[in-house]
């Protein structure tokens, strides 16, 4: 895949845009089973990325991804800051400037593993991993952008009946059941936005 400046900029813009238009929904989800700061944290982080978007888009893909990861880590705080930061930094480390589909899949798998290592967590514990893992599997299975977006969306929905074992919601025990995980939702939003740009690009 050719990552030109323009595409990169549009991908960043799309990710930031979806966070900006959904941050209050994320706040509400985190108020229900966490501490209500996930929306503000995501907005703070992605707004910081947007502030640098021009410069970021100029750079080769790995540098861009690493810089995005660093910006998220240094601005978000909380649990999701290190996790999203780790995801993008690891992706930056794993990809080269023009990754093919196989390289992309492998990079995503490595980034997913880095998040799990950072969070000492695994899929099935009602976290963002419950979106990232099925998305990784769909990528490996050769799914197109539209399919990946749908997988991400459905995976976030599927966290509703789960019992939280990691993240602040885990303190709630049984009372965490019946609510969507905020980090799963934010992951599905970003993946959805990125996929939409890629779909349009390939169309």
């Amino acid at each position: 895949m050719q990552m030109d400046r323009d595409l990169l900029y549009r991908l960043i813009e799309a990710a930031v845009g979806t966070v900006d238009s959904h941050w209050q929904e994320l706040t509400a989800l985190d108020q229900a089973i966490g501490d209500g700061d996930h929306g503000a944290g995501m907005k703070r982080g992605f707004d910081a990325v947007m502030a640098d978007a021009d410069k970021l888009a100029e750079q080769p893909l790995p540098a861009t991804l690493t810089a995005i990861g660093r910006t998220l880590v240094m601005s978000m705080g909380g649990a999701s800051g290190p996790l999203y930061g780790t995801f993008f930094m690891e992706l930056g480390k794993s990809l080269d400037a023009a990754p093919d589909r196989a390289a992309l899949n492998a990079g995503f798998t490595r980034a997913l593993a880095a998040v799990a290592a950072r969070g000492k967590s695994e899929p099935g514990q009602k976290t963002m991993l419950d979106v990232l893992a099925p998305v990784s599997a769909a990528l490996d299975a050769g799914a197109d952008a539209g399919t990946v977006a749908r997988v991400a969306h459905d995976a976030a929905e599927a966290t509703v009946p789960m019992l939280a074992l990691r993240g602040r919601a885990a303190f709630l025990g049984e009372r965490s059941v019946g609510h969507m995980d905020p980090g799963a939702r934010s992951s599905s939003l970003i993946i959805g936005a990125v996929c939409a740009v890629l779909e349009e690009q390939s169309a």
Binding site: G36, D37, M74, M76, P82, G85
Partner: protein, 327 residues
């Protein structure tokens, strides 16, 4: 939401500026407001750095000073600070003898402090605090929350570090203090995060939240309001069932207000708790009563019990000179 604030976006900065100005004799704020450190940094000792989400004042910045912390890193309200701020504090505090991070057991804090430690050049170790018995501690979950017992760990490690204890010994001592410490709290009202604008939870006129966390997290149960004696009995039972102190043990009893409860009520609770502990065969050798680990303006309090031995008692008694704790 009725609070003494100006712009919601600046609450934390304005409060920190006021804190630093009011205590300029003891502490100094990093120009970028990334951390608070001692006015006169210590020389040639292991540095102690703590921090976490804001809203628990005076924890942690109020405990920076001789005999306690070397630096504290405040995050946004109820949000763990970012690794760059923690790293800046580590670098400012490290005199070459290494740094011990005192971290409350929340995944956000754990991960951000961990990333900072990975980035640091010098030797950095960590002491984890998880004293809240309200929350289940089964091995497949993330374990217990760190609450008011953090003060006890910071005070005792602070004294030991001041006396020249080496880094590995401090880490072992920290684990020992944490293992000897248990807490549990009760809320009579909710707190309101300024950015949220509405109370974190809703309590009826005659309801309390037993086992509440210091971010207003739900605890063990919503219960009808009862007497101070009955509340104390429930909190201490949970603490002692878990702590299982030897009969006749000496202990520290710490009654901590959550921000909206006056000291007269805290002293009444202390009185009830000390009597109950004596009935349980423990002796209250040291005490602390006050609003030290708060949840914004939440009404309520927590009880903390630390089983003391001679070493811990002596370290607790060592002089301390910080904005919020001095003797």
């Amino acid at each position: 939401m009725k609070k003494l604030i100006n712009d919601i976006a600046n609450v934390l900065d304005e409060s920190l500026d006021g804190f630093a100005a009011a205590h300029a004799d003891l502490v100094a704020m990093d120009p970028g407001r990334r951390f608070v450190q001692r006015r006169t940094p210590a020389q040639a000792k292991v540095a102690l750095v703590s921090g976490g989400g804001s809203g628990h004042e005076p924890l942690h910045a109020g405990f920076v000073g001789r005999g306690m912390l070397d630096a504290a890193v405040p995050g946004a309200i109820f949000t763990s600070p970012t690794p760059d701020r923690i790293l800046a504090a580590i670098e400012a505090a490290d005199t070459g003898a290494g740094v011990v991070l005192i971290v409350k057991n929340y995944e956000g804090d754990v991960m951000n402090f961990e990333m900072a430690a990975e980035m640091a050049e010098g030797e950095v170790a960590r002491v984890l605090v998880d004293d809240d018995v309200a929350v289940d501690n089964s091995s497949y979950t993330i374990g217990r929350r760190g609450v008011a017992g953090t003060l006890v760990v910071e005070k005792i490690l602070g004294a030991a570090a001041e006396k020249g204890m080496a880094l590995p010994d401090l880490v072992a001592l920290g684990a020992r203090v944490n293992a000897a410490t248990r807490s549990m709290g009760v809320a009579l009202s909710s707190c309101t995060v300024p950015a949220a604008g509405i109370p974190t939870f809703q309590l009826g006129e005659d309801e309390i939240e037993v086992g509440v966390g210091i971010h207003g997290e739900p605890g063990r149960r919503r219960a009808p309001m009862v007497s101070a004696d009955a509340i104390v009995a429930e909190l201490l039972k949970a603490i002692l069932d878990d702590l299982k102190p030897k009969a006749g043990s000496k202990c520290l009893l710490f009654v901590n207000g959550f921000g909206g409860t006056p000291s007269s009520e805290l002293y009444l609770v202390f009185n009830a708790a000390r009597k109950r502990l004596e009935v349980e065969g423990l002796s209250v050798a040291r005490s602390l009563v006050g609003s030290y680990v708060t949840s914004l303006e939440m009404a309520g309090c927590s009880l903390t019990v630390t089983v003391l031995d001679d070493e811990l008692t002596a370290l607790w008694d060592e002089p301390v000179s910080t904005p919020a704790l001095r003797w």
